[in-house]
Symmetry: D2
Subunit: 261 residues, 4 copies
């Protein structure tokens, strides 16, 4: 049985000798010098130019996960750079591969939770009941609720406070943000952990992505964009102040010293 071929068609971009077109706009006259980088990312992902409010909030969302110090991801990137300094793209790739379930997965998970719970006609008055059901379901299944809790940032994650404040000031704090907050406070109540389960940065990103109609399957991509910038920043520091070699040698020596004595 023969396969029916399907037409390959893309609306992302195309070019000829004199121009490059991106999502219907001329790159050189319509985007460069006019869109900042976060706005360009919004155009790529949604197909639309962001409003001033959307621009402010979306740039802040992407910026939230850029830098968090000496994470496993940036250490992996520094170690890879040590072996392949001629292939910086490989060091960056090595770093973003650590953006899995532990970190970026929770942005995806919280967005999914919210997008599956709220329908176009969901009345805001129903949100407390929805939050109760979400918490009850996770507690019954003994699984953690994505987007709440942080080992360090408590009782409040300062990134969430900043993002939610910005969203509210820009008219982008709607039902998804409200539900995310309700889930966190309900979880603290049910699990008797006051001040222990704030909405964390990935929960805030999940909620705001939902406000912007970004599908949950893409939320991890927002985290990856931000962290790519942070990894390049760490590689810039590694050039000035190499520490990958030191981390390697210490681990190598300690891990085998019981064989040497």
């Amino acid at each position: 049985m023969a396969r029916t071929p399907k037409k390959i068609r893309s609306e992302m971009g195309w070019s000829n000798a004199a121009s490059i077109t991106v999502r219907g706009l001329d790159l050189c006259s319509g985007i460069l010098g006019k869109f900042n980088l976060g706005d360009f990312a919004f155009l790529e992902i949604t197909g639309c130019k962001p409003s001033a409010s959307q621009s402010l909030v979306f740039n802040a969302m992407l910026g939230t996960l850029v830098e968090h110090g000496m994470t496993p991801m940036v250490i992996a990137a520094r170690l890879t750079y040590l072996g392949a300094p001629e292939s910086l793209q490989g060091a960056v790739a090595s770093g973003i591969l650590g953006m899995g379930t532990t970190f970026a997965g929770t942005a995806e998970g919280s967005a999914r939770l919210l997008q599956e719970a709220i329908k176009p006609d969901t009345d805001p008055a129903e949100l407390p009941t929805i939050a109760e059901a979400i918490v009850a379901r996770h507690v019954a299944n003994r699984v953690s609720i994505p987007g709440i809790g942080h080992p360090v940032h408590k009782p409040i994650d300062p990134r969430t406070r900043a993002l939610f404040k910005l969203a509210e000031a820009n008219g982008l704090s709607g039902r998804y943000v409200a539900l995310m907050k309700l889930v966190a406070s309900e979880a603290e109540r049910v699990l008797n952990k006051p001040g222990q389960l704030p909405v964390n940065a990935t929960g805030a990103i999940g909620a705001l992505s939902s406000e912007l109609d970004i599908p949950w399957r893409l939320c991890r991509g927002l985290a990856v964009i931000g962290r790519t910038i942070g990894i390049v920043g760490h590689l810039a520091e590694e050039l000035r102040n190499p520490i990958g070699h030191e981390i390697w040698k210490r681990a190598e020596e300690e891990s085998s010293e019981h064989h040497r004595t």
Copy 2:
């Protein structure tokens, strides 16, 4: 002989329960909502907040390579997403791994060429002689000059025109840009290829990175940041309109059809 341990120290970022500090600024009160994404990248890489002029030019530089249609990189990312949709970070990594010598390497190469040729005390009057020497050396060694020529965008690469115009309007067009242009015109003259060897987009990025004091070893990282955004954009389209599967099946069928008949 024992190794002398070295202190591990980073200035990129650190955090405590209530705050995250990035390059000396408070992330939540000083960056989110105040820095657009390109400005944040500038801070990460250089340690400084960009001026208004630097912000405009740097955001445009990073935006230049975001989108160029159905490149090998975005096809690789779409094919990887097909096999591992739960790991979007892997699909992005798969795509950026194609940012090697063919593409991003020329941004690095042109920046290196310029940064090695111009010293702090180089007089602009010397630039034509320097350009002649650069072209002569590459011609003698039979190697191509990074940053000039493009299979499609000629006699002018429209991205270069846009970037150089923006740089000039913002007071960021100095000796490096001048030298890059001289190298291109000298190469067209010596090789007798008028209109065939314009400064291309990676040459423009290499020149402007040099104007901004960004070391050539990092230029590939700028390309990677931009293209990461483009790859996430293509994955967003792949979710709405999957084409990876079709590309795969066609290649699979055609590549083995001589065995089936």
Copy 3:
């Protein structure tokens, strides 16, 4: 509250000027020339030298997924090689990143299914009842059962037949293999799909890994080892007969031709 540091210690390998020790064996006198590559992988993963039977079966398991023609993974690797031929490691990495839930994930999933179902004291007579419960649970949850069914290889996956025959001839076909077969036949019966849900290659690998006491979390690694070899094979062909460029240009042209007319 200070963290309690933990000792870093590894038993994998260590070296001095005159020797390299791997899992307690001298690499140069005890492994090279004596262990074939699959046996070495067995040593790395389990810490033991395989018996002759284990060697035969384990080499076959690793070989099963090496080559399956023009898969999405090898196309991604070829496209990445196009952009970064100087970094073959990046092309290989790009390819293996597609070994996610769709492919390798099912080896992991079937091994998990079996390892969670069979306890040390499970009587073989209980296996049919266990298989019924597994199928009933998956059907009730409307999720597919890992390790059974294949779009092309039916009513029997020839790789499974070969692997299970080899395992039986070598005394390695025990309760896990038996349960995997029972799950497949029970699923065909319950879902009324005779000849449609054979144990597939990843199901066979999941079952045989379990027979060899390899934890299910590592099964995906076995698939990755095999496919890495296949990807290098395809890159060897790409050097002799480049096709990545053609796949790219066709996709690029077709995807944007509606903009050109």
Copy 4:
């Protein structure tokens, strides 16, 4: 000007419902249970079944780089696994991305050196003169000679001794091995570093790949195959004895402690 399409054709493998064919052999009846994993890699790369001698030497070559203790590559893989344990393929990819110029690049470089120096009609008597010219050229250009020297393994790299002995016993020690040895001794003489510049493991692999007619551009792939196995081995240990977390926390604490006091 329209592009002339090219036929896409591959000889690697293809399949139908009942069989998988690999390089002309039936996978299930002709390879599984008959080829060990190294032999299968030889078939993939060269298209031929190895002779008994080739099998012994090639399996040893691939085994040489499997394990070298706590290298930067395996630490990167362990750190990536920490963030994305559900995507083991990403952790492996993260590790092999460090196989760049520092490590695997020298296998490639030494093979290239030898393959460019020896022509089909090169008389073995000419080899000392060729070695002198190679060393003189590298010394004049102030670049290091790939394949010789090692920070730890000197005056002899034990892996080289084992590989060359095996090759000689199997009739695979020809002009390439002879030239590699001559280059090392000439370099020690010219640079006055007796016992400091032995042929190292990657030099031995480069020489033996050349004896087996494997193009130098693929040698890095042999290193990647071996190291992939080693990385999976380390991830198996990480499951039993996690150390990635400890390496991370120590680096994080130390790198920012100057900010806390």
